[in-house]
Amino acid sequence: MALFIIGACLAGGLLLLDRWQVGEFGLSQPIVACPLLGLLYGDLGTGFYFGAALQLVWVAALPLGRAQSLDYQGAGVVAVVAHTFLTRVLKPGPDGDGKVVFACLVMASVASFIGAQLDIWNKQANGHLYRRGAKAGSPSRSTGWHLAGLATGFLRGAVLTGAFLGLAALAARPLLLLPRFTRTELLALALGLGLAGAARMFVSLRRLHWTAFGGAVAGLLWVFLRQ
């Protein structure tokens, strides 16, 4: 289990560097990061599930300018890692799987806040690097202070993942007392919120006919594909 925890912190730290420190290729987005972690832990189905459920919940949380957005990337990583941990510890079986998924979604939403706060501390710590880099005696030293930002970023992701693994360990036994949930019910809730966020962003009276057209196309496709 110690190996799993160390591996999860490393994977979380590395994946979450993509949030803003390295490249921003999109690897840390829940729809990509969750299946990647699912693949790593041999449960691709759960990875796809959390990816689809969580990608849209924070669709309206925009990282615009200097505003601090919620850490929805961290939320995705926490959800899959905590699910793997809890499944290995509790071995819940089909009846208890919904309880574990429920707990992981709760942890994911809390992780989005904690991750945002860690982001603020990360940027404050980078302020020290900036001051040192700006006063350094040579170009290579300035670049060295700049690259030290990779370490603070990695640490941020690893700490977030590790902290929620700790929380999952504490919550493991009590969550068995929860009532039974199905994955479909929980997916429906997350998708409903995602749909609201997407509609708020893109649907207006002026473009409502396009939305209706989209709905009609999806309905027709469904009917056509079922036949």
């Binding site: 390295v22 490249g23 921003e24 290729f25 999109g26 729809i31 990509v32 299946p35 599930y49 990816g51 689809a52 849209l56 924070w58 990282p63 200097r66 957005s69 939320a75 429920f102 994911a108 939403s109 809390v110 806040f113 404050q124 302020g127 900036y130 880099g133 700006a134 170009p139 300035s142 670049t143 700049h146 690259l147 030290a148 930002g149 970023g153 929860l178 009532p179 479909t184 929980l186 429906a188 409903g192 919120l193 995602g194 749909l195 609201a196 966020g197 997407a198 509609a199 708020r200 893109f202 649907v203 473009r207 396009w210 939305t211 057209f213 989209g214 709905g215 196309v217 999806a218 469904w222």
Partner: protein, 221 residues
């Protein structure tokens, strides 16, 4: 190539004081050809700098173009372009491209789960990194003309994407209800979310609240 890698890391030491200052300096150092230019660039670009990370390449290209010719223009140009590029880049990449591809990827993932990651990752990574590289090369080649072209292109794409996104939300709405089965949960969540998501931070509160309500309903029933 070194400049591209430096641009990939442009935000790695982002801070409230300097923004991408050190990252932009590292990219400019990678573009400097002679030790003298390197020293001059290092002295000059250690200050505060902030723009959209994908468009930092264009600005680095434009700045390097004038550093190799007439460096007196650079300060004024960068000052004017970084905030403009910051807002137009954020609008295109974060307000349209990421949410748009998210909607498309989740919609397709509801048909075939394996489609989701690829439909998001491939276009997002390809487009953002192409903008980074092509903006850098074009900026080095033609200077401020590259910034004008990039800005015009982003505005044109933004207008088209708004319509596409409205269409996709319709597709997602119907698909989500058909897939998730219990439409009685999708619809209340979407309705509450519509009114609750006045501020983007509320996404987390609403997810917690919805889960709590579901838990209470389960306990009571």
């Amino acid at each position: 190539m070194t400049a591209f890698f430096a641009l990939l890391l442009v935000q790695c030491s982002w801070s409230y004081e300097g923004g991408q200052g050190l990252g932009f300096m590292a990219a400019m150092l990678a573009l400097a050809r002679t030790p003298e230019t390197r020293q001059r660039v290092w002295q000059k670009y250690r200050g505060q700098f902030n723009t959209n990370p994908f468009l930092a390449g264009t600005l680095a290209g434009v700045a390097a173009h004038y550093e190799r010719r007439d460096s007196s223009e650079v300060d004024r140009l960068l000052g004017a372009l970084q905030s403009g590029f910051g807002s137009s880049g954020d609008n295109f990449f974060w307000r349209l491209l990421r949410p748009g591809l998210s909607v498309l990827a989740v919609t397709l993932a509801l048909f075939r789960p394996a489609f989701g990651p690829f439909v998001f990752l491939l276009p997002f990574a390809a487009l953002t990194q192409t903008v980074r590289v092509s903006g850098l090369n074009r900026g080095l080649e033609v200077g401020k003309q590259a910034a004008v072209e990039m800005s015009a292109r982003l505005t044109a794409y933004s207008a088209r994407m708004d319509v596409l996104m409205a269409f996709l939300v319709g597709v997602l709405g119907v698909r989500a209800m058909l897939t998730a089965g219990p439409a009685y949960l999708v619809l209340p969540a979407a309705t509450v979310g519509w009114f609750g998501l006045r501020r983007p931070r509320f996404g987390s509160y609403l997810l917690l609240l919805s889960l709590l309500i579901l838990l209470l309903v389960k306990i009571v029933l």
